[in-house]
Structure formats: C-alpha cells, structure tokens
C-alpha cells in the first residue's frame, strides 16, 4: 500500500466556475470514459464548454490565463450531480485542482473527492458569491484551506468557516482517505458478518 498521506492544508489561487447543478457529464463528457486509465483525464475537464467542434477555445475560466496555476476550485450548488464517474474529480485533480469550495456537492461526487484526497468544503450562498467575486476581480489572491481549523483564509487577515462532513475531515487529516488498507485490515470481521447473512449461504438454513 502506498504511504499514508495526510492532508491538512491546501494553499493557492482560486478558479471560479459559476452555476448550480453542474453535472459530471459537463465536467467530463462520456467519450473520455472510454480511456482505459485515468492518466490523461487532466486534459479534459469541461471539455465541451472550453472547445468547439473544431477544437477552438471558447470563453471559460479553465481557458483563462489569469487563473493559470489555480489549485482551489470555487463552485455553487449541487456541484458534481449525475453520473458516479470518478473521471470527474480525477480530471479536476489532474488539471491541478487540490481542493473545492462550494455551496453544496452531490453525494457520489463528494465521496469520490474524499477517495482521491480532495477536500470538498461548503459555505453559504452570500459568502460564496463574495469569494467568487474576489477570485474574479483579483485572481492572484492566495487562499489557504485549513482542515484542522475548518477555515478558508485569504488576504492579510480575512477568513471564513467552512463545512465538511466530520468523517471526511478525519479521513483527510489522518490519511485514511486512501481506504483500502484500513478496510482490508478488517477482512476477518467482514467474513464473520458475511457468515451471519442468510443469503450468503443461499438460505441453506
């Protein structure tokens, strides 16, 4: 198993993508799911919103030079709804996104983010609008997400509290977000539970 990686802080500039209910088909079109590994996913986030049929760029924050190098994604409500494709957070992560701040996230997307070690944290509508405006107007603003303190700080002395499910926060802080080894350690317990389930023996009685 790979070494335990604890994630407590993410720092960097931010890139805002406005809009509620941005689904995973928009984050990564299905045709890229035909690739047999995640290796190239970083080339594809928001592909059809960034490029037309001829491959010419369209206006989109992910094409905008002023956001180049950003590591924190700002979004609105229900981000990542739809398909369970892990390719969506994989594409964002491999593009350079190491944390996401938004008003809310769809359930499977949020779970996938934790599995990849990407904190996805929430705050209110008004605070989000303020942050998005700041990132748009002063794109070189540096933000620091501190999971231990549950705060996003920026500027010289500004900070806002952020929300994250406690289990996700612990998994990231303790490094158990890469969960297989932790789960595998309980294999004997799993076998005991399985043996008690009547369907596991075909209801042999």
């Amino acid at each position: 198993m790979s070494a335990v990686i604890k994630i407590s802080k993410v720092s960097g500039t931010a890139i805002p993508v406005r809009g509620n209910d941005i689904d995973t088909d928009r984050i990564i079109p299905a045709r890229y799911l035909k690739e047999v590994t995640f290796a190239r996913m970083g080339e594809y986030p928001f592909y059809d919103e960034r490029f037309d049929a001829e491959g010419k760029t369209k206006p989109h924050p992910f094409n905008d030079a002023k956001y180049k190098g950003a590591s924190i994604l700002f979004v609105n409500k229900n981000f990542g709804c739809g398909s369970s494709r892990e390719h969506a957070p994989q594409a964002l992560f491999r593009f350079g996104i190491k944390a996401i701040v938004g008003e809310s996230f769809a359930a499977i997307f949020a779970g996938n983010c934790v599995m990849l070690g990407i904190p996805a944290v929430t705050l209110g509508e008004r605070e989000m609008e303020e942050l998005i405006r700041l990132a748009e107007s002063a794109s070189q603003t540096n933000f620091t997400l501190d999971l231990a303190a549950k705060k996003l700080s920026y500027g010289t002395d500004r900070s806002v509290s952020v929300g994250i499910p406690e289990s996700s926060r612990k998994a990231l802080l303790e490094g158990s977000w890469d969960s297989t080894a932790m789960l595998r350690a309980n294999l004997d317990k799993a076998k005991t539970v399985a043996a008690r389930l009547p369907y596991m023996t075909g209801f042999m009685g």
Binding site: A53, N112, Y199
Partner: protein, 468 residues
C-alpha cells in the same frame, strides 16, 4: 434477525451488514453483491494488482458489458478500438480473478441494472454496490444499493466492504391512483420536480403509498432508478408479495424450502409499521399527468398540458435561463407540439419488458413519422428474447422503429448511438444534461416509453392519452 420495533428497512439492513465503526466515524458495511461493467472498473483492478491484493469474495462479483457495446453490429473486434480495448481489459480481469462474466455471447448479457434483477441476483435485505449512479434501481427489491466511484470499486473488490456514512430516511408516499397513460416515469419525474435535483442530498428515499404498492417490480425499478436524479444516493421499496412473486424461480433465487426461508428473511427486513422517519412527504398520484422535461436537468419537468415556466418562478432563475438558452425555447409556450428528430426507447430506467409492451401498444399498426430516427433498445439480451417471443419486435419494425441488441445505447453516448448537432430526442432515459446524448448542442426531452412512441409517430411531443 432480532426483532425490535420502530426501525426502517434501511436501519435493519445497515445494522446486519455493519463490519465495524471506523476511526473516521464512518461505518464499514459488508457488500453482499458487487456488479461490475466495462467502464468504471479497469483502473480499480489495476490498483488491486499494484497493491498486491486479491479479490476478497470473487463469487459475490458479477460482470457484464453494457455501456460501450454497439447495439447494431456486435462483431468483434469492435470498430471503436477504445471500446475493444476496454472490453478486453474487463475480459482479462474477470478471467484473472475468477469472476462470473455475462459477455456479449451470453444470453444473460445486458444493462447491469436490468440483468441483476432478471437473474435474481438482486434480492431484498442485501447490500449491493456497482460503479454506476443508477445502482439505486436495485432498491426496488428492498436492497441497499450504492452507486460508487472507481476507487470504491477497488475497495469492494479488495475487501467486499465500503466505508460510508449513515443517511437520513425520507419516506415518500404516493397516494391515490394513476390515470391511464400515466406511468412510473411520470411519478418519479414529479417527485424530482417537487423535491428538487438536490433535494435528496443526505437522504435515502423510501417509496410507499397506494400507487407504489400497486406497481409491478419493473415500475418500482423505474422509480428507484432515478432516486439519484433527485440527489438521493439510495432509494428503496419495502419487499412484498409482488417482490417475492417476481423473484420466484429466477436463476440465483433459492428453490423449495430455501425459497420459504428467503421469503421469511425478506419479510423480516421490511420497515416496521411504527418506524421512525426523518421526513415524510405525501403526494397525490391522481394529480399526475404525462410529464416531460423541458430543461437540462430532470427536475425541470412539466405536465403535458402545462406551459413552460418562467425563470422567475424558480429559486435559481439563472439556472432556468441557462436551460432555455440551451433548449432554444421560450418561457410561457406549450411543450405540446414541440418537434423532435429522434425517439429513443431504452436505458436502465425504461428498457424492460413492460416498458417495451407499453411502447408497442402505442406503435401497433401505426407508422413512425417521416424523417424521425426511432430506436428501441431492449435492456438485456433476455428482455430482447422475451419481447421477440411475443412479437413486439415485429410491431416496432413494421412501424418503422429500429430493433436493436441490448445495451445502454443512446442514454449516454459511449457507443455509436448518438445525437447529431442540435437534434431533439424524445427519450425514455434518465438524464437530459447538456451533451448527455453525444452532441454538445443536442437536446433531450425525458418521458415515459409510451410517450416516446407517441412522439415518434407524430414527429412531435403529443399527449399519449389520446392514443390509448
């Protein structure tokens, strides 16, 4: 099973499958059945191999191919080299780890959420996981069915467990009776319209009420299938006589005394009459009319006799405006009469025998409107055979529909069945997201299979009640 009052099915199945409480506070749940397909699994197997693990319970994992397979020419190698590569990767992985595989040459092949129930693999009181968001479909059997990502597929392969948080339960009672021409699809579209596409966040949906009681298993699957479109990770219906009757005699269901013991277990995990719910929502099924979507998410839906809503009527007017911008329609105009280019009956939502029967009933003796491309794609090779046995394929082909082989087809644009340009598709699938059906400019109108058939015959959106 220990009996104690006041618990939901969700509570009971959760408890009996709990392996441990993890240091994070999450519960480690045993997964009774793992279904896999060609798309979301290859990196999961790679990670299992790289970490030197094996597959913990290979006999509890079953594989098929559905997303990427062509539904016309299925000869190998596929014309699409990526489809061929992914399929070969799955074939190699199932061979290496000893997993039962329903491949293209199997009469059990099909959409993973169609074959699980059809084979009797999906059973009440079980936990189930699959790397696909529409895994909620299996909840129709009183199964806790989790749609998961690839890293979680890795975890289920290596440990047969998932780390997950317990959710709240919202009971949704659909009371009254459905009118003729109103189907399970209309019910779930109305539930999502009312509660919102994010309304189910943090909840499991338990569907009940007279309308759900009367539904057959295929209709319940349609409802549970779209739980995730309402933001709920899981949806379920308590198992009853309809469930047991459906399961009896299926390949993976025990026979004789074993079946009796199974029914007794399945009955024991029903929600108690005095179960505690975090929320209860009541809806009147009698008020539901044939329903279609007008926008770019499944909650943007209207009854067929309604006019398109004004953006200002929504809590997110900007979202509605974006939908109108994509669809090219005007608020206040009727949805009835909207021209279509393509008609698609299929997908894990609506591709089962009763769906095909409902569409065939409308199509019988009529003709697809000139210029309309109309596809009927059975959900599984087994459904296809049953439909052909009763002559449905002849009804469809005589009417001018293409009769295809089983697969996900035009629901998600990972195979040759796609929209082109600005085409508008009347679709029995589950998502009307921008670009979902393969063209970034394409447009999807979700509806029941009968409504799709009626739209195909007329070249425009019509009220199916005029055809039954």
């Amino acid at each position: 099973m220990a009996k104690s009052s006041g618990r939901t099915l969700y509570d009971k199945v959760w408890e009996s499958h709990t392996v441990d409480i993890l240091p994070t506070g999450q519960t480690q749940l045993f997964i009774g059945l793992h279904l896999i397909h060609e798309i979301t699994t290859a990196p999961a197997f790679d990670m299992v191999r790289e970490n030197g693990f094996d597959v913990a319970f290979p006999e509890r994992t079953f594989a098929t191919v559905d997303h990427i397979v062509p539904t016309d020419l299925r000869t190998r190698p596929f014309l699409d080299s990526q489809a061929e590569e992914l399929t070969q990767a799955l074939e190699k992985n199932v061979g290496e780890f000893g997993i039962e595989f329903f491949g293209l040459d199997s009469d059990s092949q099909g959409i993973v959420h169609v074959i699980g129930p059809q084979l009797g693999l999906t059973q009440p009181g079980m936990t189930l996981a699959c790397g696909d968001s529409h895994t909620s479909t299996h909840g129709a059997f009183g199964t806790l069915a989790f749609g998961i990502g690839t890293s979680q597929v890795r975890d289920v392969l290596a440990t047969q467990t998932l780390a997950t948080d317990k959710l709240k339960v919202r009971r949704i009672n659909v009371n009254g009776n459905l009118s003729d021409g109103v189907y399970a699809k209309d019910v779930i579209l109305n539930i999502i319209r009312r509660l919102g596409v994010a309304g189910g966040k943090g909840f499991v949906y338990e569907y009940d009420g007279a309308v759900v009681d009367k539904m057959n298993m295929e209709e319940r699957m349609t409802v549970c299938n779209m739980s995730i479109e309402g933001g709920a990770l899981l949806g379920y219906v308590n198992p009853d006589a309809t469930t047991f009757e459906f399961l009896k005699g299926r390949r993976f269901v025990p026979k004789g005394a074993g079946f009796e013991r199974a029914v007794s277990y399945w009955s024991s995990i029903r929600s108690d009459p005095d179960a505690r719910y975090d929320e209860v929502v009541n809806m009147d099924g009698s008020q539901i009319e044939p329903t279609v979507t007008w926008g770019i998410n499944p909650g943007q839906a209207v009854g067929i006799s309604e006019k398109l809503p004004l953006p200002e009527e929504f809590s997110d007017p900007e979202g509605a405006r974006k939908a109108y911008q994509h669809m090219g329609w005007k608020p206040g105009s009727p949805i009835l009469g909207t021209p279509i280019n393509v008609a698609f009956v299929g997908s894990c939502t609506n591709s089962r025998l009763s769906d095909l029967r409902a569409a065939a009933k409308i199509a019988k003796g009529r003709k697809v409107h000139p210029g309309i491309r109309a596809l009927v794609v059975p959900g599984s090779t087994g459904v296809k055979a049953l439909a052909e046995k009763e002559g449905l394929h002849e009804i469809f082909t005589e009417a001018g529909f293409e009769w295809r082989a089983a697969g996900c087809s035009m629901c998600l644009a990972m195979n040759p069945d796609k929209l082109k340009g600005r085409e508008i598709c009347a679709s029995s699938s589950n998502r009307n997201f921008i670009g979902r059906q393969g063209s970034p400019e394409g447009r999807t109108i979700l509806m029941s299979p009968a409504m799709v058939a009626a739209a195909a015959l007329n070249g425009k959106i019509v009220d199916v009640r005029e055809y039954i």
